[in-house]
Symmetry: C2
Subunit: 207 residues, 2 copies
DNA sequence: TAATTTTCCGAATTGAATCCGAACAAGCGT
DNA sequence: ACGCTTGTTCGGATTCAATTCGGAAAATTA
């Protein structure tokens, strides 16, 4: 039963532990990140970890919370700028800021997020990508007019990755803000509209 | 140094182990899934696990590969049907099939995928969602004409989830098929075009 | 300063992952 | 069928990391 820190010294210890967690995880990976390691990097005894954290998982959980809070804090001040930009520029800016943020401190956050998302999964995703790419390829050759729309590879990449993650997130979400059908309809419409708009632009240029 | 199975009996053992992995993981969760548990469910001795798998992780890895292969096999026969549907219907169908697939065997796959993706992460994602929703909310109120486009909640949900995952996947991808800028441009254009198309449709209806 | 609370520690405990060598089965040439 | 080699299974013994615990040190309070 972990305690809440009451003194500044203790708060510093908690902070050092979380910070050490990020360092250890990014340097050694999740398997090699032992409690002794974290304690050593933090400059505290192993026992101290358990003064404030239920177990090792709880340390990772605290790290996750810290990461999300930092991300939110990074975005918040951008809000006024973002809202008065064209929407596509805003999205581009947001993505770039997020990338830079993940790359800070020699990519410490990025490395941690990869582990946290069990990205070893990624390697095995290839066969699925192949099948889906095949579907898309055949679709395009079967509808020659669509071959001229721009950014096909990028849209494919986003559609597949985003689609997979969105479905899994949604099915894991205890209280989703939109129904599954709404989400499916949204993704379908988004890509459908994209194609339509592109064809429209192409026709406009042709005339 | 694990061996490759040369006899049918051994192949059956490997299969039983992987299958037991799915059962154990879906029933008990990742923390409570011990090697003895897997061995017991598979009906083999603990030692046998290490005949064909480097370690416990390797079993999970094999499970992941199996899962992806099964998913691809599920989609492949749909290809002919998909390619002659309108693109939005095809996407809807794909998403539904994927959902049903994950739900098979009392959601065994879904439970495993959740664990594999370290879904405890999910709980902490909330603050980030709030900030981003706030940005979107302010944008919408600042551009009243966009308030009438349909599926705003769904597009938001997909944009945020899909965007986050796509960025992280991309930054983890050793050999991405598209550059980061292309991907950012793709996501920006996709949502931008969606809005344009919606506004176009709205204008069309108004006239 | 003494009493009390908070914090820190690291040796000892516990339990799961992994190893290993003996026992059992299958293939194979004679 | 029989011995020999190779493939397979097993579960007790070993190893190593997570967690506990009881007391020392530091801070706070009286």
């Amino acid at each position: 039963m972990p305690r809440k820190p009451k003194q500044d010294r203790a708060r510093a210890t908690v902070d050092a532990i979380v910070e050490a967690g990020f360092i250890a995880l990014s340097q050694r990976g999740p398997a090699a990140t032992t409690t002794r390691h974290i304690a050593e990097i933090a400059g505290v005894g192993v026992g101290s970890l358990y003064e404030y954290f239920e177990n090792k998982e709880a340390i990772f959980s605290a790290m996750s919370q810290r990461f999300i809070a930092d991300t939110a804090a990074m975005i918040k001040p951008l809000t006024p700028t973002l809202v008065q930009m064209p929407i596509d520029s805003a999205i581009r800016m947001l993505l770039n800021e997020f990338r830079n943020f993940l790359g800070r401190d020699d990519g410490r956050y990025l490395k941690c997020v990869r582990h946290a998302m069990a990205v070893d999964f990624e390697l095995h995703l290839d066969p699925l990508f192949q099948v889906l790419n095949n579907v898309i390829m055949r679709y395009l050759t079967g509808h020659p007019e669509t071959l001229r729309v721009s950014r096909i590879p990028a849209i494919t990449y986003i559609g597949i990755n985003g689609g997979i993650f969105a479905v899994i997130r949604h099915l894991s979400d205890p209280d989703p803000l939109v129904s599954f059908d709404e989400m499916a309809d949204g993704l379908a419409s988004m890509i459908g509209h994209y194609i339509e708009q592109e064809l429209l632009l192409l026709r406009g240029v042709a005339e």
